[in-house]
Symmetry: C2
Subunit: 340 residues, 2 copies
DNA sequence: TTATAATTTGAAAGCGCTTTGGGAAGGAGC
DNA sequence: GCTCCTTCCCAAAGCGCTTTCAAATTATAA
């Protein structure tokens, strides 16, 4: 069943039917009702491609993951996309995913733009100095960055959480509890969020007049195993750190193993603060003792980024959104005063 | 730059240019080379929607996740999709994702089919008696099931791993080591894979003349917390189970906490076998002791399912694929003979 | 009543591609 | 010389929508 057949069936022109269906005002109320009703009864659905060709809009948003996999292996991305895709679905936008393949990430954007496959893209995990921004600006493809570049916050739309502030707050809490040797287990620091966290951590130490010790800082893939290995390594140092700040729950999970293995007690011998993206399968509160966290829902961020992007697609001339989310520091049982 | 402009630029008709670009034989070699070269130089890209409208094929594969979230929260899905999407990208197919929204999963399939949005879909996490199969058969939308229904293996294309065999093997290994009280921490058992695992587990026990004890069986969301809580609960029973079989690495992670908390030793007081989907952020080998696992790469499964689906889309009359993957049982340090 | 404005409807063009049904040019066979 | 194939190319139709421009109908004003 296509438009033409539906129109014939109704004894109307395609024009009128199309208008009735799409809510244009130049159509009588009675006619509109009739059209809507019959379209529903006959199960008519407009062909997506025909509509896209005619309107020039694809009603789809693209997500491109680099082929080196270091991003998509992070389980937080499925939650981000779930949030975003959900919002999009409700607003009539499809979600296009591109994971790897042999094509370079930048080429995918180019192809997306030139073939009209998507109306906009969401840029994930921006680097400290990310070349994608310039490319997308050049292509004229609307986008919103989830995160920020390091140098500039202008010239592109973004939503980010205050990673710097969060890790500064977390580190400061530990300092206030008397800890002076505080380890950091971070993500890859060419990614801005990890870099910001590093900055927040260092800032808090410097504020107290403490120095930065590279021996108790790790930056790398946020796997359980890295959490374990590097927590173990650090906790074996003399003097050992009495507290650790961790960039992901996965790393916390590994660090817990290390702590147990050394016969130490969380919240007493070692204080832990982890960053919690609110992943449904790894719950900070369910740990024993429950985990003090910096918390921000990655899923909510996904939904909001999608919202900003759709706004941008539909009103390209509106001002670019810059949205910085505060991160809550939630005090639970894994942090305590340093013991002598 | 569109076809018309490119054709004019070359002094050829759209027909010839289109044929040259798409590899049709009725075009001179010299002409073809010229066309290809100029198209490249001028950066011509065919408009995706125009092509789709003309050919009636969308060159896209759809993934629909139920809105209740219980599926997508499982981190294995991002890895599955990464594998599938990767394969598709290499073969010129886009990946369409639908996560939740207010639309019912079945309605999404209907819409996909009627609007021509995708050429096929991959059905994830089939239920023991899954209504999606009948719907898709009715819609005539090609699909491949990742997993199986319980009752029948005919009438639909599928790829599955031998969950029943894997858990039977795992349980038998423990029995052979002298364990007689073996707990099971499983996924939601209305999902076929979990149901099959349960069957394999029970079969192995029954083969030895042992009975099934519901007190040491858990079925639910495979979160870290559930792993912890139910391992803890079971290990506190008297007599306590001397071994646990776990359906996911996430649950293993939680169970390890429980074991440590009770002051027990993995591989001695408690033997553990987990199912490992090969997730990059949680490594069975990196645990201490390393974890004995039933192992099957979910990412490889994703790639292969995509391959089967594309074959099905392009040759609808070929026989339906039924592919059952063997699951390796990899012996590592977390299993040992029962101690008196 | 008639002129004018407002409301509804339609015919047809156009979006950018693929593909059908020929047609011209050149070579082989007689 | 002619016919018959190939080989290579093209004009035009068609995919199923949206949208422009114009016409028909009805309501309002004079």
């Amino acid at each position: 069943m296509n438009l033409k057949e539906l129109a014939e069936h109704l004894g109307l022109s395609q024009t009128t039917v199309s208008r009735a269906l799409n809510g244009y005002p130049e159509v009588g109320e009675a006619t509109r009702r009739r059209v809507l009703e019959q379209a529903h009864n006959l199960g008519y659905r407009p062909n997506a491609h025909a509509r896209r060709l005619a309107t020039g809009r694809s009603h789809a948003i693209g997500y491109v993951f680099p082929s080196d996999r270091s991003i998509i292996i992070d389980p937080i991305f499925s939650d981000f996309i779930a949030g975003a895709s959900d919002f999009q679905a409700i607003n009539g936008y499809e979600t296009l995913l591109h994971a790897g393949g042999q094509e370079d990430e930048m080429d995918v954007y180019r192809r997306y733009a030139e073939m009209g496959l998507v109306d906009g893209v969401i840029v994930q995990a921006p680097h400290v100095d990310d070349p994608r921004i310039a490319l997308l600006n050049g292509l004229g493809l609307p986008y919103v960055v989830h995160g920020r570049l390091n140098d500039t916050e202008e010239g592109y739309a973004w939503l980010d959480i205050d990673n710097r502030g969060a890790f500064r707050k977390a580190t400061k809490l530990l300092l206030d509890l008397g800890h002076t040797r505080i380890g950091l287990l971070n993500g890859l620091e060419y990614l801005t969020y990890a870099w910001h966290r590093r900055q927040g951590y260092e800032q808090a130490l410097l504020d107290k007049g403490l120095s930065i010790d590279p021996a108790i800082i790790f930056a790398g893939l946020m796997t359980e195993e890295n959490g374990y290995r590097h927590a173990l390594r650090m906790l074996r140092l003399k003097p050992r750190p009495t507290a650790l700040v961790l960039s992901s729950m996965m790393m916390v999970s590994g660090a817990l193993r290390a702590v147990h293995e050394l016969g130490l007690t969380v919240g007493k011998d070692v204080s832990l603060i982890g960053h919690d993206d609110g992943l449904p399968f790894l719950n900070a509160e369910g740990l024993v003792p429950s985990l003090t966290t910096t918390t921000s829902s990655i899923r909510a961020a996904g939904a909001r980024v999608a919202e900003l992007l759709l706004a941008r697609v539909e009103n390209p001339d509106d001002e670019m959104a810059h949205e910085l989310w505060n991160v809550d520091l939630i005090l639970r049982g894994s942090t305590g005063p340093v013991v002598a």
